[in-house]
Point group: C2
Amino acid sequence: MTADTLLDLARSLPDIEMDSSAAIRAAYGSDQGPVLEQMSPLAVLWARSVEEVQEILRWASRTGTTVVPRGAGTGVSGGAHATAGCIVLSLERMNRILEIRPDDELAVVEPGVINADLNKAAGEHGLMYAPDPASYRISTVGGNVATNAGGLRCAKYGVTRDSVLALDVVLADGTLVSTGHQTFKGVAGYDLTALFTGSEGTLGIVVGITVRLRYQPVKTCTVAGFFPDIESAAAGVLAVGRARVQPAIMELLDGPTMAALDAVHGSDLRSRGGALLLIQTDGYGAEAEAAVVRAALAALGGTVSLEDNEEALALVDLRRHSRGDAVHTEVRVGEDVAVPRSGLVTYIAELNRMAGRHQVRLKVVAHAGDGNVHPTFWVDAAEGSAGVERLDAALDESISVALAMGGTITGEHGVGQFKLRWLGQEQQAEVQELQRQIKSVFDPAGILNPGKAILP
Amino acid sequence: MTADTLLDLARSLPDIEMDSSAAIRAAYGSDQGPVLEQMSPLAVLWARSVEEVQEILRWASRTGTTVVPRGAGTGVSGGAHATAGCIVLSLERMNRILEIRPDDELAVVEPGVINADLNKAAGEHGLMYAPDPASYRISTVGGNVATNAGGLRCAKYGVTRDSVLALDVVLADGTLVSTGHQTFKGVAGYDLTALFTGSEGTLGIVVGITVRLRYQPVKTCTVAGFFPDIESAAAGVLAVGRARVQPAIMELLDGPTMAALDAVHGSDLRSRGGALLLIQTDGYGAEAEAAVVRAALAALGGTVSLEDNEEALALVDLRRHSRGDAVHTEVRVGEDVAVPRSGLVTYIAELNRMAGRHQVRLKVVAHAGDGNVHPTFWVDAAEGSAGVERLDAALDESISVALAMGGTITGEHGVGQFKLRWLGQEQQAEVQELQRQIKSVFDPAGILNPGKAILP
């Protein structure tokens, strides 16, 4: 059947660029999320236009072939992992910035545009595309839309959904629909734009994106607050809130994260404290806000420095790389829970308790302004299955504790394939059923990215 | 059948407060939107708890009775107009603020809480609920959610959807579902919270709302720029954008609006210019931003005054009342289109051309920061149907011109019943069909607010 399908594919879509070599199928078989079962697509297809995406989906519908859409493959929840018998539809060649309209403060892009490239183009007009996942240099805007990606700046500027005004989407049967509006506000009908955003390619293939652009800040100030421990640093988050300053960026790094960064980048963060609260204010009020932040943090016992621009950028850059590279001698899993802001200290203390109890290693960074916590747990690979079992137990506990505090299993990475195991703990059965029915409206045959985002 | 249904209602729900007197049925038969055909509900029911809403919907499902939910009835698109054989379900008695959690920067409220009351309660903690429709003193948060209401401050702080984190919703069959999260970020599953927001009570009855609160600004500055004409005032909108200032409020008033305000409130706006751009900056950068705004407007020939606090508040307050009261000697319709920001000048010029061509009166206010334009057209009631026909022709043209410019038929008021006639011009047939199918998922029997929000 596989060979038949492949033959049919090649003959039916003679003009579509595709590759079914083992190397390509392996390279496009997974994203950066944990792999539960390594699968390989039948073939990888690269669409270059909306029409090609429509052709591919018409073929997939006709043959009942499942389609896994893919941007840059930088997701960390397995939303772009291949599934049995699928084709991978790469949007990376659809990478044109179609329009930047400075006075309308919006841009229209194809899904394969790299986030940083859009920002560079917008920057020429003094504008920026605000959502900045840590992967912004390599991830695509389409992928960001698929996961409703967050990032550092969303403390102030919101997540991807808050910047997406309109979408062009190809449905499972090849139908092209346009949702949303080219205006900042618009309430005509149900908000399909928001529904598609974060739906991880399970409702349709996003082929065109209109985004709102924001003003590049006229001024940016970065305050680094080094604290003896994570508790006092986390208290700083609430203190800044009580001082009514809305930072553009408010990141929390624990000691092990600082040590890991020092080891890789030769920095000296760990020697300066046991935890770091890194805060950036921006705009016309940046300096006034930074002064308030400094006072608030100093009052809590932080060693506060207003970094000059080069150091500041280096620190923020370090933070963006704090997930670290995969190390083959370790089994690592990064998490993405969010908790109500006031629970940050308690939750991070709980994480440390869990790490001790399950004998796993732990480091924690948080988009603290949003209560979005990224713990990374790891064990030595040499331990084999015993280590993985302890790792899994720690992960499970980190999720259930977050949920008990009113949190969510995923703040910004998406459910993908990997977090399905916890989704039932967060979503009541009736909500799961509604989601399945919505899926059926858009994709009745279930060919779009099956086994992702919602519970079967 | 009506009498039977009423009898069944009274017997089946003995503990629910209800009234079927002619006076109450008339009072609750319409909201503030234009009435196409005056209908009267069988009865008005006031729910006092989630359980009562569930009971009512179970009864409605069993008997096939349609339900029109209603907050304060301040909507202007007829979203709460009674339809044939319906009951009106008023949520106004469910008006408790259940929680304000200052450090989590969120509040949990029942749907009947008045927007201003929530703001007052949040203000005690230095926080605010940002969405501020002109009706904020009398409209409910539940109604604001139903229409995804905008307001003045959403230029900076976003619309209702941007502040809604989680919803409790009773579905047509009485099932209670909870969507969203108590955290600022969360991407687990499809965004049902956004789907319900703005769905005008056609998908479910919102019975609980968790909203994000924002910081009350430490400082507010108001700049009034009086211009000789609307073109130069509208150019000021783009100039402020190019100066990279994001005002909290940016309102544009034309000469007839100023004259109308002067007549009612005894102000002297019209003598100061032919158009007014009213801009408020807020936060730590408010003064620096106001200075930039003043310079930008003065460079365009505006007569710019930095108002002191009392005058400033009075001006903004005047603007909030600029829709004016209904006058029985006139037939008036207020519109709510949005256009891309750069089209403001062109669009307003077109509106004036239309008014001349169709011989109708016109005044225009705009949430200019969002490109959201509220023209009000009117004719003398004494003219009878001839006047109404010209009014309708002007309305139709105002819509088609906005759509041709890439705009939308409704920026913040909702489609309701009144704007259905234009919805097909904005939404392609495939999108209309998707919306109908989504409606069927949530309300298969079609008992929830039929004939509103989406095309049949």
